[in-house]
Symmetry: C2
Amino acid sequence: MILEKKKVFLQFATKRGLRSTRQRDLILDVFLSSHEHLSVEELYLKVKASHPGVGQATVYRTLKLFVEAGLAREMTLSDGQTRYEHLLAGEHHDHLICTGCGTIVEFEDETIERVQDEIAVRHGYTISSHRLELYGLCPACKGHQR
Amino acid sequence: MILEKKKVFLQFATKRGLRSTRQRDLILDVFLSSHEHLSVEELYLKVKASHPGVGQATVYRTLKLFVEAGLAREMTLSDGQTRYEHLLAGEHHDHLICTGCGTIVEFEDETIERVQDEIAVRHGYTISSHRLELYGLCPACKGHQR
DNA sequence: TTTACTGTTGATAGTCATTTTCAAAGGATC
DNA sequence: GATCCTTTGAAAATGACTATCAACAGTAAA
Protein backbone atom coordinates (compact mmCIF):
# COMPACT_ATOMS: atom_id res chain seq x y z
CA MET A 1 0.00 0.00 0.00
CA ILE A 2 2.69 2.47 0.99
CA LEU A 3 5.03 0.85 -1.50
CA GLU A 4 2.35 1.22 -4.13
CA LYS A 5 2.18 4.95 -3.53
CA LYS A 6 5.92 5.31 -3.52
CA LYS A 7 5.95 3.71 -6.90
CA VAL A 8 3.31 6.14 -8.12
CA PHE A 9 5.45 9.05 -7.03
CA LEU A 10 8.54 7.54 -8.58
CA GLN A 11 6.78 7.17 -11.91
CA PHE A 12 5.49 10.72 -11.69
CA ALA A 13 8.98 11.99 -10.89
CA THR A 14 10.49 10.10 -13.77
CA LYS A 15 7.91 11.32 -16.22
CA ARG A 16 8.46 14.88 -15.09
CA GLY A 17 12.22 14.60 -15.06
CA LEU A 18 12.40 15.26 -11.33
CA ARG A 19 15.39 14.15 -9.35
CA SER A 20 15.12 11.77 -6.49
CA THR A 21 16.38 13.40 -3.33
CA ARG A 22 16.60 12.45 0.34
CA GLN A 23 14.23 15.22 1.31
CA ARG A 24 11.49 14.11 -1.03
CA ASP A 25 11.80 10.49 0.05
CA LEU A 26 11.70 11.51 3.66
CA ILE A 27 8.70 13.79 3.31
CA LEU A 28 6.86 11.13 1.36
CA ASP A 29 7.53 8.61 4.12
CA VAL A 30 6.29 10.93 6.82
CA PHE A 31 3.24 11.85 4.79
CA LEU A 32 2.34 8.26 3.96
CA SER A 33 2.79 7.04 7.50
CA SER A 34 0.48 9.61 9.01
CA HIS A 35 -3.22 9.08 8.80
CA GLU A 36 -4.50 12.46 9.79
CA HIS A 37 -5.37 15.53 7.80
CA LEU A 38 -2.11 17.30 8.38
CA SER A 39 -1.40 20.95 7.90
CA VAL A 40 1.89 21.85 6.30
CA GLU A 41 3.18 23.12 9.60
CA GLU A 42 2.33 19.88 11.38
CA LEU A 43 3.99 17.85 8.69
CA TYR A 44 7.02 20.10 8.76
CA LEU A 45 7.37 19.57 12.51
CA LYS A 46 7.16 15.82 12.11
CA VAL A 47 9.81 15.90 9.44
CA LYS A 48 12.04 18.20 11.44
CA ALA A 49 11.79 15.93 14.47
CA SER A 50 13.79 13.24 12.74
CA HIS A 51 15.75 15.38 10.29
CA PRO A 52 16.29 18.90 11.63
CA GLY A 53 18.01 20.14 8.53
CA VAL A 54 14.97 20.11 6.27
CA GLY A 55 13.57 23.53 5.46
CA GLN A 56 9.89 24.26 5.45
CA ALA A 57 9.94 25.68 1.95
CA THR A 58 10.90 22.20 0.84
CA VAL A 59 7.94 20.72 2.66
CA TYR A 60 5.62 23.21 0.96
CA ARG A 61 7.15 22.47 -2.42
CA THR A 62 7.07 18.73 -1.98
CA LEU A 63 3.46 18.58 -0.87
CA LYS A 64 2.48 20.39 -4.01
CA LEU A 65 4.27 17.73 -5.97
CA PHE A 66 2.27 15.04 -4.19
CA VAL A 67 -0.90 16.76 -5.30
CA GLU A 68 0.31 16.85 -8.87
CA ALA A 69 1.28 13.20 -8.64
CA GLY A 70 -2.25 12.39 -7.52
CA LEU A 71 -1.18 11.17 -4.09
CA ALA A 72 -2.63 13.96 -2.03
CA ARG A 73 -5.46 16.43 -2.00
CA GLU A 74 -5.29 19.94 -0.71
CA MET A 75 -8.05 20.97 1.61
CA THR A 76 -8.57 24.43 3.02
CA LEU A 77 -10.87 24.59 5.97
CA SER A 78 -11.93 27.91 7.36
CA ASP A 79 -9.00 28.07 9.77
CA GLY A 80 -6.67 29.53 7.19
CA GLN A 81 -4.32 26.56 7.07
CA THR A 82 -3.94 24.32 4.09
CA ARG A 83 -4.12 20.65 4.91
CA TYR A 84 -3.17 17.64 2.86
CA GLU A 85 -4.90 14.31 2.95
CA HIS A 86 -4.24 11.03 1.23
CA LEU A 87 -5.96 10.48 -2.02
CA LEU A 88 -6.65 6.95 -3.14
CA ALA A 89 -7.08 6.48 -6.85
CA GLY A 90 -10.56 7.41 -7.93
CA GLU A 91 -11.75 7.86 -4.38
CA HIS A 92 -13.94 10.72 -3.24
CA HIS A 93 -14.96 11.49 0.24
CA ASP A 94 -16.27 14.40 2.20
CA HIS A 95 -15.77 15.67 5.72
CA LEU A 96 -17.64 15.96 8.95
CA ILE A 97 -15.77 18.45 11.11
CA CYS A 98 -16.28 18.95 14.82
CA THR A 99 -16.45 22.63 15.68
CA GLY A 100 -15.55 21.78 19.25
CA CYS A 101 -12.38 19.71 19.01
CA GLY A 102 -11.51 19.81 15.31
CA THR A 103 -11.86 16.07 14.77
CA ILE A 104 -12.43 15.22 11.15
CA VAL A 105 -14.47 12.23 10.08
CA GLU A 106 -14.50 11.15 6.47
CA PHE A 107 -17.60 9.85 4.78
CA GLU A 108 -18.82 8.97 1.36
CA ASP A 109 -22.37 9.06 0.15
CA GLU A 110 -23.56 7.90 -3.18
CA THR A 111 -26.87 9.73 -3.07
CA ILE A 112 -25.15 13.06 -2.62
CA GLU A 113 -22.77 12.36 -5.46
CA ARG A 114 -25.69 11.50 -7.71
CA VAL A 115 -27.71 14.56 -6.78
CA GLN A 116 -24.67 16.74 -7.39
CA ASP A 117 -24.41 15.39 -10.90
CA GLU A 118 -28.07 16.09 -11.50
CA ILE A 119 -27.68 19.66 -10.33
CA ALA A 120 -24.68 20.15 -12.55
CA VAL A 121 -26.50 18.82 -15.58
CA ARG A 122 -29.48 21.05 -14.85
CA HIS A 123 -27.20 24.09 -15.05
CA GLY A 124 -25.22 22.84 -18.00
CA TYR A 125 -22.03 22.48 -15.99
CA THR A 126 -19.50 19.69 -16.19
CA ILE A 127 -18.26 18.94 -12.70
CA SER A 128 -14.61 18.22 -12.18
CA SER A 129 -14.52 18.19 -8.41
CA HIS A 130 -16.45 19.17 -5.37
CA ARG A 131 -16.11 19.86 -1.72
CA LEU A 132 -18.61 19.15 0.98
CA GLU A 133 -18.00 19.90 4.61
CA LEU A 134 -20.44 19.46 7.44
CA TYR A 135 -19.68 21.43 10.59
CA GLY A 136 -21.09 20.54 13.95
CA LEU A 137 -20.44 18.97 17.33
CA CYS A 138 -19.21 15.41 17.66
CA PRO A 139 -20.74 13.10 20.28
CA ALA A 140 -17.92 13.73 22.77
CA CYS A 141 -18.13 17.51 22.51
CA LYS A 142 -21.89 17.47 22.83
CA GLY A 143 -21.39 15.70 26.15
CA HIS A 144 -19.06 18.38 27.47
CA GLN A 145 -21.50 21.16 26.78
CA ARG A 146 -22.94 23.00 29.75
CA MET B 1 -36.00 44.64 0.07
CA ILE B 2 -32.93 46.84 0.42
CA LEU B 3 -34.80 49.01 2.87
CA GLU B 4 -35.72 45.94 4.81
CA LYS B 5 -32.07 45.02 5.19
CA LYS B 6 -31.08 48.50 6.14
CA LYS B 7 -33.61 48.33 8.89
CA VAL B 8 -32.18 45.04 10.07
CA PHE B 9 -28.75 46.60 10.28
CA LEU B 10 -30.09 49.65 12.06
CA GLN B 11 -31.74 47.49 14.67
CA PHE B 12 -28.60 45.47 15.10
CA ALA B 13 -26.56 48.64 15.48
CA THR B 14 -28.94 50.06 18.05
CA LYS B 15 -28.99 46.88 20.06
CA ARG B 16 -25.22 46.78 20.07
CA GLY B 17 -24.82 50.45 20.80
CA LEU B 18 -23.05 51.09 17.51
CA ARG B 19 -23.00 54.56 16.06
CA SER B 20 -24.37 55.35 12.66
CA THR B 21 -21.62 56.68 10.44
CA ARG B 22 -21.33 57.75 6.81
CA GLN B 23 -18.86 54.98 6.10
CA ARG B 24 -21.09 52.21 7.37
CA ASP B 25 -24.10 53.54 5.47
CA LEU B 26 -22.05 53.82 2.33
CA ILE B 27 -20.55 50.35 2.59
CA LEU B 28 -23.96 48.88 3.30
CA ASP B 29 -25.35 50.60 0.19
CA VAL B 30 -22.58 49.30 -2.00
CA PHE B 31 -22.90 45.82 -0.56
CA LEU B 32 -26.66 45.67 -0.93
CA SER B 33 -26.64 46.99 -4.46
CA SER B 34 -24.17 44.42 -5.74
CA HIS B 35 -25.41 40.97 -6.52
CA GLU B 36 -22.16 39.16 -6.87
CA HIS B 37 -20.06 37.26 -4.39
CA LEU B 38 -17.65 40.05 -3.71
CA SER B 39 -14.26 39.75 -2.16
CA VAL B 40 -13.31 42.41 0.36
CA GLU B 41 -10.89 43.90 -2.11
CA GLU B 42 -13.54 44.18 -4.82
CA LEU B 43 -15.96 45.79 -2.44
CA TYR B 44 -13.28 48.16 -1.24
CA LEU B 45 -12.57 49.26 -4.80
CA LYS B 46 -16.24 49.87 -5.46
CA VAL B 47 -16.51 51.95 -2.33
CA LYS B 48 -13.35 53.86 -3.09
CA ALA B 49 -14.57 54.68 -6.58
CA SER B 50 -17.26 56.95 -5.20
CA HIS B 51 -15.65 57.89 -1.89
CA PRO B 52 -11.87 57.78 -2.13
CA GLY B 53 -11.33 58.63 1.51
CA VAL B 54 -12.60 55.36 2.93
CA GLY B 55 -9.91 53.06 4.26
CA GLN B 56 -9.88 49.37 3.62
CA ALA B 57 -9.64 48.49 7.29
CA THR B 58 -13.07 50.05 7.63
CA VAL B 59 -14.40 47.85 4.85
CA TYR B 60 -13.02 44.77 6.56
CA ARG B 61 -14.49 45.82 9.88
CA THR B 62 -17.86 46.73 8.47
CA LEU B 63 -18.29 43.49 6.55
CA LYS B 64 -17.74 41.58 9.75
CA LEU B 65 -20.52 43.61 11.30
CA PHE B 66 -22.84 42.63 8.47
CA VAL B 67 -22.12 39.01 9.23
CA GLU B 68 -22.92 39.54 12.89
CA ALA B 69 -26.08 41.35 11.92
CA GLY B 70 -27.11 38.35 9.86
CA LEU B 71 -27.02 40.24 6.57
CA ALA B 72 -24.05 38.53 5.03
CA ARG B 73 -22.23 35.25 5.00
CA GLU B 74 -18.51 34.80 4.75
CA MET B 75 -17.31 32.32 2.16
CA THR B 76 -13.76 31.24 1.54
CA LEU B 77 -13.13 29.57 -1.77
CA SER B 78 -9.79 28.04 -2.51
CA ASP B 79 -8.37 31.25 -3.95
CA GLY B 80 -7.42 32.59 -0.56
CA GLN B 81 -9.79 35.54 -0.62
CA THR B 82 -12.72 35.89 1.70
CA ARG B 83 -15.95 36.74 -0.06
CA TYR B 84 -19.21 38.00 1.30
CA GLU B 85 -22.60 37.13 -0.05
CA HIS B 86 -26.08 38.24 0.85
CA LEU B 87 -27.87 36.15 3.36
CA LEU B 88 -31.62 36.05 3.38
CA ALA B 89 -33.19 35.10 6.65
CA GLY B 90 -33.18 31.35 7.13
CA GLU B 91 -31.95 30.71 3.64
CA HIS B 92 -29.31 28.15 2.72
CA HIS B 93 -27.77 27.66 -0.61
CA ASP B 94 -24.70 26.11 -2.12
CA HIS B 95 -22.43 27.01 -4.99
CA LEU B 96 -21.59 25.85 -8.46
CA ILE B 97 -18.32 27.48 -9.43
CA CYS B 98 -16.90 27.66 -12.93
CA THR B 99 -13.21 26.80 -12.96
CA GLY B 100 -12.88 28.63 -16.26
CA CYS B 101 -14.32 32.07 -15.65
CA GLY B 102 -15.11 32.07 -11.94
CA THR B 103 -18.84 32.51 -12.37
CA ILE B 104 -20.76 31.40 -9.31
CA VAL B 105 -24.25 29.94 -9.53
CA GLU B 106 -26.27 29.42 -6.40
CA PHE B 107 -28.51 26.44 -5.91
CA GLU B 108 -30.48 24.78 -3.22
CA ASP B 109 -31.35 21.13 -2.99
CA GLU B 110 -33.56 19.56 -0.44
CA THR B 111 -32.38 16.02 -1.04
CA ILE B 112 -28.80 16.95 -0.27
CA GLU B 113 -29.83 18.74 2.89
CA ARG B 114 -31.76 15.70 4.01
CA VAL B 115 -28.97 13.26 3.27
CA GLN B 116 -26.54 15.48 5.15
CA ASP B 117 -28.70 15.27 8.21
CA GLU B 118 -28.86 11.49 7.92
CA ILE B 119 -25.09 11.28 7.70
CA ALA B 120 -24.68 13.50 10.73
CA VAL B 121 -27.09 11.41 12.76
CA ARG B 122 -25.30 8.24 11.72
CA HIS B 123 -22.06 9.61 13.19
CA GLY B 124 -23.71 11.13 16.23
CA TYR B 125 -22.94 14.68 15.16
CA THR B 126 -25.18 17.70 15.44
CA ILE B 127 -24.73 19.82 12.34
CA SER B 128 -24.64 23.56 12.72
CA SER B 129 -23.63 24.51 9.20
CA HIS B 130 -22.24 23.13 6.02
CA ARG B 131 -20.54 24.09 2.86
CA LEU B 132 -20.93 22.47 -0.52
CA GLU B 133 -19.13 23.65 -3.60
CA LEU B 134 -19.19 22.05 -7.01
CA TYR B 135 -16.34 22.96 -9.33
CA GLY B 136 -16.51 22.55 -13.07
CA LEU B 137 -16.92 24.25 -16.41
CA CYS B 138 -19.97 26.36 -17.18
CA PRO B 139 -21.70 26.02 -20.56
CA ALA B 140 -19.91 29.07 -21.99
CA CYS B 141 -16.45 27.90 -20.97
CA LYS B 142 -17.08 24.41 -22.27
CA GLY B 143 -17.72 26.02 -25.66
CA HIS B 144 -14.42 27.86 -25.66
CA GLN B 145 -12.41 24.74 -25.05
CA ARG B 146 -10.09 23.66 -27.78
C1' DT C 1 -25.40 74.68 20.57
C1' DT C 2 -21.72 73.76 23.17
C1' DT C 3 -19.35 70.47 25.77
C1' DA C 4 -17.67 66.23 27.10
C1' DC C 5 -17.52 61.51 26.42
C1' DT C 6 -16.47 57.66 23.85
C1' DG C 7 -17.04 54.94 19.55
C1' DT C 8 -15.07 55.08 14.81
C1' DT C 9 -11.89 55.96 11.24
C1' DG C 10 -7.65 55.90 8.27
C1' DA C 11 -2.84 55.16 7.95
C1' DT C 12 0.41 52.31 9.14
C1' DA C 13 2.71 48.70 11.30
C1' DG C 14 2.26 43.95 12.50
C1' DT C 15 0.98 38.97 11.79
C1' DC C 16 0.59 34.70 9.62
C1' DA C 17 0.68 31.41 5.93
C1' DT C 18 2.76 30.80 1.82
C1' DT C 19 5.94 31.90 -2.14
C1' DT C 20 10.01 33.63 -4.22
C1' DT C 21 14.84 34.44 -4.53
C1' DC C 22 19.42 33.02 -4.85
C1' DA C 23 23.77 31.13 -3.68
C1' DA C 24 25.37 26.73 -2.28
C1' DA C 25 24.81 21.81 -2.52
C1' DG C 26 23.89 17.61 -4.71
C1' DG C 27 21.73 14.27 -8.34
C1' DA C 28 22.30 12.59 -13.10
C1' DT C 29 24.66 11.87 -17.28
C1' DC C 30 28.64 11.54 -19.88
C1' DG D 1 35.24 12.51 -11.77
C1' DA D 2 33.64 16.73 -14.49
C1' DT D 3 29.77 19.11 -16.00
C1' DC D 4 25.21 20.48 -16.02
C1' DC D 5 21.25 21.81 -14.07
C1' DT D 6 17.77 20.66 -10.48
C1' DT D 7 16.95 21.04 -5.66
C1' DT D 8 17.63 22.86 -1.25
C1' DG D 9 17.67 26.05 2.94
C1' DA D 10 17.65 30.63 4.69
C1' DA D 11 15.94 34.68 4.32
C1' DA D 12 13.39 38.17 2.08
C1' DA D 13 9.06 39.07 -0.19
C1' DT D 14 4.17 38.77 -0.80
C1' DG D 15 -0.72 38.97 0.14
C1' DA D 16 -4.65 38.87 2.98
C1' DC D 17 -6.06 40.30 7.06
C1' DT D 18 -5.77 42.41 11.99
C1' DA D 19 -4.15 45.49 15.61
C1' DT D 20 -2.63 49.98 17.01
C1' DC D 21 -3.33 54.66 17.85
C1' DA D 22 -3.92 59.55 17.27
C1' DA D 23 -7.31 62.39 15.06
C1' DC D 24 -12.04 62.70 14.25
C1' DA D 25 -17.01 62.61 14.71
C1' DG D 26 -21.61 60.90 16.68
C1' DT D 27 -24.39 61.50 20.76
C1' DA D 28 -26.48 62.89 24.82
C1' DA D 29 -26.47 65.93 28.57
C1' DA D 30 -25.84 70.68 30.10
